[in-house]
């Protein structure tokens, strides 16, 4: 029973923080709210007997991804972002279709009921979630596990290729020219 109420509380907080994420002007607050959402979801995962995922959620999402976010936000000029006007007429259409989508999603979520007793890859009663994940990840999901390494490799390449600063060919020369012109003045 207490678990149920805890679930309600965490979910409520998660939704509130999610709304806060998208309506903050300052990206730093947004990121903070998002971290909050993730923590709340981690709590929910614990309630749903997925402790391993909860831990990973905190370590990977909060500890790595969101740190990266905050790091990048710090590199950018936040002042400009603060000037964004949130409410004006042009956005009404976006809000309308967003709310329509939301309503449809809620209807689906409300009417969902499980018809199947047992899904694929059954979870034995005596194993905890970490063991389950380990068992299936290295047997049934071995190929996806290897393929995800390719995806991560691509991510690394992307970060390296796009993130590295480089001068265009010949720009250096122009700079020198500009400098010399500047010095003559």
């Amino acid at each position: 029973m207490i678990q149920e109420y805890l679930g309600y509380a965490f979910s409520f907080l998660a939704v509130v923080l999610a709304i806060s994420t998208i309506i903050q002007k300052n990206p730093v607050y947004s990121a903070a709210s998002l971290i909050g959402v993730m923590l709340m979801l981690a709590c929910n995962y614990v309630l749903l007997n997925a402790e391993f995922i909860a831990a990973i959620q905190v370590i990977v999402y909060v500890g790595a991804i969101m740190v990266l976010f905050v790091f990048v936000i710090m590199l950018l000029n936040i002042e400009y972002a603060k000037r964004e006007k949130l409410y004006y007429r042009g956005r009404i259409f976006g809000v309308i279709i967003g709310v329509a989508l939301l309503l449809k999603l809620l209807i689906v979520g409300y009417s969902m009921a499980i018809k199947i007793q047992q899904g694929d890859l059954p979870v034995p009663k005596d194993l905890d979630s970490t063991k389950v994940v380990g068992k299936y990840l290295f047997s049934n999901y071995i190929l996806p596990f290897e393929v995800i390494s390719v995806v991560l490799l691509i991510g690394i390449i992307g970060a390296v290729v796009l993130g590295r600063k480089e001068r265009p060919n010949g720009e250096q020369k122009e700079e020198v020219v500009v400098k010399t012109i500047g010095s003559t003045h």
Binding site: F93, G94, I97, G98, A100, L101, K104
Partner: protein
């Protein structure tokens, strides 16, 4: 035994290919051997491909001996520097070989039994999927035999003529490449044994026509004319394509043989499907053969070089519609409504185009309207189920209209590019040979008894009266048109060759007769225009009507209705009426443009007389305008206005609405990511609900 007919279209294709390569690469053509070898290898590869494909047709292996022969041929060509002379040899030679092969095919064909004159040669099985098989296959039957003779024969003469006419043009090889390509597609069109292949030819000739109209594309007007022809033809092509789809849906096949043989069983007489099919096909025909309401492009198409006008826009391509209707006679005869539409459109086009011919000043535009009018005749012929008469007129028209155009070209050549007939006159003495052949052509088109036009036109008129699909109205329109034709064609002749010399002094000084390479084709065409009619002398005149009997097997699947029989006396009477009307047209033209008030002998007398003559001539013109301005001319100017505003407007209107919707859709593409997200969410919502 008939396998060789596949070579008939292939030779023009080969010529087009070689000249095209040369035309494209000429600007950076060097004497480097590498270029020569490169092009030679391309040519060899092409030849080899032809032969490989040819081999798939299970032709005797002996033909493979052609490979070394071809190699030697290419070595000969590329061993020397490529020149314009070589271009003409390739261009004309390939058509010439085609012509010889066509004659051979025809010769072999008429030695078969009439029932056996239906030969299909499968060249290559293009695709087979399910129940549909599409072959590149050629059909040789009396109809296509006649057509290939006309196409290659007249085409050959016009090619020869072009050698003289186009010489010194900077794009000489390109011209011959296009012209050969056109002949290739035209041969595909007439030799196809199924609808898709016919459609390929149909589109191909349209493309070549577009390219050739805009041949001198440096001039904006020419490019405009080319675009107009292209757009109008596309409209017609939808009709053709839809008709083709409908045939496929109905018959499950697109082969002529399958469709026509089963037509009477699959379709009901006067049923909706057959009417829809035939009307849709006819929409295609109105585009290609420039009938009401899609005739507007043809007069503008005269922007192309004159040999093009002669070959494409008079003798061959524009008659494709007539050929198509005649080819589909088994379908058309099942749909009396369509037949009536075809005949009516043909008759109306004939008379309206003729009336428009009155008001033109451009030497080629007059002929263009005349072509439209004569095409109307042909449709009138096929529309009253007189298929052989229509094709007969097609053949004779090819002769005399090509002759007229080429003579016009010769006149333009002589005048140094001048095309306004009001600035000509009195050329009879300067270019006598051209005058004589023009006279023959004019007499033939006017229907002078004994010349080719007389027989074919009379055959159509008689059938318009006597056929079960015909009526006295159609006949009357035809006869009136005959008179009008005689009038404006003689007006054309008189304005050019008779009367005062209205050109300026310098032009006059440079008038010269064309070279022999242009004149010889004219002589041959003139000869054909005179004797061409004797292949189909009607029985009432004591002839055997060989042409009709030769084409009879083509209409064997046609739905036949028995019409009433008329006596020969009636036929004579009608014939006399039409000749009389034609003569009246000639007489009016003569009075208006030559006789009144003076005769050419008085030319040199004095300036005063000449002045008076000019005055009177204008008086005649004004009288003529005064008399007709409230009648025909008004109509015809009105039609011209309608032509320019209404139909061009419709064509442009479609374009414009497309243009604006395009701008509108581009506006949707704002460049903002969130708008794109809106699009995605909207799509998601559509999918979810």
């Amino acid at each position: 035994m008939f396998d060789f007919i596949v070579l008939i279209p292939l030779f023009p294709a080969f010529g087009a290919f070689l000249n095209g390569i040369y035309g494209v690469f000429r600007s950076n053509w060097a004497d480097k051997p590498s270029h020569t070898i490169g092009i030679a290898s391309i040519g060899l590869a092409f030849g080899l491909m032809l032969l490989l494909v040819y081999k798939m047709v299970s032709v005797p292996i002996v033909l493979l001996a052609l490979v070394p022969a071809l190699g030697a041929f290419l070595a000969f060509i590329f061993g020397y520097r490529w020149s314009d002379k070589l271009v003409s040899i390739i261009g004309v030679g390939s058509i010439g070989i085609s012509f010889i092969l066509s004659v051979l095919a025809f010769w072999k064909l008429i030695h078969l039994e009439p029932e056996a004159r239906f030969i299909e040669v499968v060249f290559y099985k293009w695709m087979i999927s399910g129940d549909l098989s599409l072959d590149i296959a050629f059909l040789l039957d009396p109809l296509s035999a006649v057509m290939i003779l006309v196409v290659t024969g007249v085409g050959f003469l016009i090619h020869v003529y072009s050698v003289g006419y186009m010489h010194n043009d900077p794009s000489y090889p390109r011209f011959f490449a296009y012209l050969n390509l056109f002949v290739f597609f035209m041969l595909i069109l007439v030799m196809a044994n199924n609808f898709p292949m016919m459609f390929i030819g149909w589109e191909g000739v349209g493309l070549c026509s577009y390219l050739l109209i805009g041949f001198w594309f440096e001039d904006d007007y020419n490019a405009y004319a080319g675009n107009k022809a292209f757009i109008v033809n596309r409209i017609g092509d939808f009709g053709f394509l839809l008709g083709m789809f409908l045939i496929f849906v109905t018959f499950g096949s697109l082969n002529y043989k399958d469709v026509f043989e089963t037509a009477s069983r699959v379709l009901s007489y006067n049923g909706f499907t057959v009417t829809a099919i035939t009307l849709l096909l006819f929409v295609g025909a109105t585009g290609k053969s420039s009938q009401i309401p899609l005739y507007v492009w043809l007069p503008d198409a005269m922007a192309g070089p004159t040999p093009v006008s002669a070959l494409i826009h008079a003798a061959t391509m524009v008659t494709a519609g007539v050929y198509m209707v005649a080819r589909c006679n088994a379908l058309y005869t099942l749909a009396p409504i369509s037949m009536a539409v075809v005949a009516t459109i043909g008759a109306l086009t004939a008379i309206f185009a003729a009336s428009m011919g009155f008001a033109q000043r451009d030497i080629k535009r007059i002929l263009a309207y005349s072509t439209i009018s004569q095409l109307g005749y042909m449709f009138l012929g096929v529309g009253v189920a007189a298929f052989s008469a229509g094709i007969f007129h097609l053949v004779t028209h090819a002769f005399f209209k090509a002759l007229l155009f080429l003579s016009a070209g010769s006149v333009i050549h002589a005048m140094g590019g001048e095309q306004d007939v009001m600035k000509m006159g009195g050329l009879k003495g300067h270019i006598k040979k051209t005058f004589i052949v023009s006279l023959v052509g004019t007499l033939a088109i006017a229907g002078a008894p004994g010349l080719s036009g007389f027989f074919s036109k009379d055959e159509i008129l008689w059938q318009a009266y006597s056929s079960p699909y015909g009526s006295v109205f159609l006949w009357a329109i035809g006869v009136i048109t005959a008179g009008m034709t005689a009038f404006y064609m003689f007006r054309w002749l008189f304005l050019i060759f008779f009367g005062e010399e209205r050109m300026d002094h310098e032009t006059k000084h440079h008038i010269h007769e064309s070279p022999n390479v242009m004149l010889v084709p004219l002589y041959i065409l003139a000869f054909l225009s005179i004797v061409g009619g004797y292949i189909g002398i009607p029985e009432s005149l004591g002839g055997k009507n060989h042409f009709h009997h030769f084409l009879e097997p083509v209409t064997r699947y046609a739905y036949k209705i028995e019409g009433p029989h008329y006596s020969h006396a009636l036929e004579y009477a009608l014939m006399i009426v039409s000749v009389a009307v034609a003569f009246a047209g000639f007489a009016i033209a003569y009075i208006c443009y030559v006789k009144n008030p003076s005769i050419p002998v008085k030319f040199a007398e004095s300036y005063r007389n000449i002045y008076r003559w000019v005055y009177n001539k204008y008086f005649v013109d004004e009288l003529y305008e005064f008399l007709f301005v409230k009648g025909t001319l008004n109509t015809c100017f009105g039609l011209k206005a309608f032509d320019e505003k209404g139909i061009d407007g419709a064509v442009n209107g479609t374009g414009k609405s497309l243009y604006w919707s395009s701008i509108l859709t581009s506006k949707l593409q704002t460049g903002y990511i969130y708008h794109y997200v809106w699009g995605i969410v909207l799509g998601l919502l559509i999918l979810l609900f």
